[in-house]
C-alpha cells in the first residue's frame, strides 16, 4: 500500500468512527423522544384512568431511564473517571430515603404496612451502597 493510499484509508476510518459516534447520539435522542411520547400518552383520558400508583411508577421508571441515558451518553459519564458515577450514585443513595420519607409523611404515596415502608426505604440504597463500598479501591495512603 502506498503512503497516499494509507492516508486515504486512515482518513476513511476516522470519518467512519465520527459517523458511528454521531449515530449513537442520534439513536439515543430517538429513544428519548419515544420515551417522552410514552410519558405524554399516559396523560390521555383512557390511560389516565389507570390507578395513580401505576401511573406514578411507570412515569418514574421512564424518567429515571431518560435521566441516566442523558447523563451516561450525552454527558459522557460512562467514558469519564468512574469516581464521578460513584459520587452520583452515592448522592442518589442518600436522596432515596430522604425523598421517600417526605413522600410517605405528606401522603404522596399510599400508606403501606410499616415493615414494607422500611424495606422500601432501606433495601435499594443498602444494596447500591454496598456495591459502592466494595468498588472503592482506596489509595496507598502515601501522600508525602
Amino acid at each position: 500500500m502506498t503512503a497516499t493510499e494509507q492516508q486515504l484509508s486512515e482518513g476513511a476510518d476516522e470519518s467512519s468512527s465520527w459517523v458511528k459516534q454521531d449515530m449513537v447520539y442520534i439513536k439515543t435522542a430517538i429513544v428519548l423522544g419515544v420515551f417522552t411520547a410514552i410519558e405524554v400518552f399516559t396523560y390521555f383520558e383512557s390511560v389516565h384512568k389507570a390507578p395513580d400508583w401505576l401511573l406514578v411508577i411507570t412515569l418514574s421508571f421512564l424518567m429515571v431511564i431518560k435521566f441516566f441515558l442523558v447523563t451516561a451518553v450525552f454527558m459522557h459519564l460512562r467514558d469519564d473517571n468512574a469516581v464521578f458515577t460513584k459520587l452520583m450514585v452515592l448522592g442518589l443513595c442518600i436522596a432515596w430515603p430522604v425523598y421517600f420519607i417526605m413522600a410517605f409523611t405528606f401522603g404522596f404515596l399510599p400508606n403501606w404496612n410499616p415493615i414494607l415502608k422500611v424495606l422500601f426505604l432501606l433495601v435499594p440504597p443498602s444494596i447500591t451502597g454496598s456495591w459502592l463500598g466494595f468498588s472503592f479501591k482506596g489509595g496507598t495512603g502515601s501522600h508525602h
Partner: protein, 206 residues
C-alpha cells in the same frame, strides 16, 4: 512535599496544564462540582413544589386546570432535541468541521430560545387566567421552580451564543473543543432537570 514534587507542580502551572488527577481538566471538574450543587438547589425547589402544590384557595385554579400538557410536551421535546444538537456541535468541532459546529451551535440556541419563549407564553396565559406569583403557594412554588429553570436555559443560550461569536472570530477551533464540552455539560444538566420537572410537575396525577 519534596523538591521534585514542587518542581513538577510549578512546571505544570507554567505550561498552562490544569489537569486534575481524575483525568479531566480542572475547568471541567469545576463544572461538575457546580452541577452537583445545582442538583441540591433544584432538589429543594422540587420538594417545595410537591409540598405546596395542593395549597390553593377554594376559588383558585389548581394544576389540573392550569396545565396545557400537549403544549408543554412539545416544549419538552424541543429541549430534549437541543441536547442532541449540542453533542453534534461538539463532535463536529472535534473533527475540525467548524462550519457544521456553528450550525449545530446556532440550532441549539434557537431550540433553547423556542423553549424559553414557550415558557414565557405559558406564564402569560397562567397570569391572565388568574394565577400570579403571589396568588397562592402553588403559584409561588410553581413559578419559582420553572422560572429558575428558565433562567438556567437563558444563561445557557447566552453562553452558547458567546461560543458562536468566538467561532465566527476564529477563536473556537478543534483544539479548544473542551470549552464547548463544558458548556455542553451545563446544557445537558438543564435538560436532565427538565426531564424530572416535566414528569413530577406536569405528568404525575394531580
Amino acid at each position: 512535599m519534596t523538591d521534585t514534587a514542587i518542581d513538577q507542580t510549578s512546571n505544570e502551572h507554567s505550561d498552562g496544564d490544569h489537569g486534575s488527577t481524575l483525568g479531566v481538566s480542572n475547568d471541567k471538574l469545576g463544572m461538575w462540582v457546580f452541577l452537583g450543587s445545582d442538583c441540591l438547589l433544584f432538589g429543594g425547589l422540587i420538594s417545595t413544589y410537591m409540598l405546596y402544590k395542593d395549597r390553593i384557595g377554594p376559588d383558585d385554579l389548581g394544576p389540573a386546570e392550569m396545565f396545557d400538557i400537549p403544549f408543554t410536551s412539545v416544549s419538552s421535546f424541543v429541549l430534549l432535541m437541543s441536547s442532541l444538537t449540542v453533542v453534534l456541535a461538539i463532535t463536529a468541532l472535534r473533527r475540525n468541521d467548524i462550519r457544521r459546529s456553528r450550525i449545530w451551535l446556532l440550532a441549539t440556541s434557537v431550540l433553547g430560545a423556542i423553549f424559553v419563549g414557550g415558557q414565557v407564553y405559558e406564564f402569560t396565559v397562567f397570569y391572565r387566567e388568574g394565577l400570579g406569583y403571589t396568588t397562592n403557594l402553588f403559584g409561588t412554588s410553581f413559578f419559582t421552580l420553572t422560572g429558575f429553570h428558565g433562567v438556567h436555559v437563558t444563561v445557557g443560550i447566552v453562553m452558547l451564543m458567546s461560543l458562536y461569536i468566538q467561532s465566527m472570530r476564529g477563536k473556537l477551533t478543534s483544539g479548544q473543543s473542551e470549552k464547548l464540552e463544558i458548556i455542553g455539560l451545563y446544557w445537558h444538566f438543564v435538560d436532565v432537570v427538565w426531564i424530572v420537572i416535566f414528569t413530577i410537575v406536569y405528568l404525575f396525577p394531580q
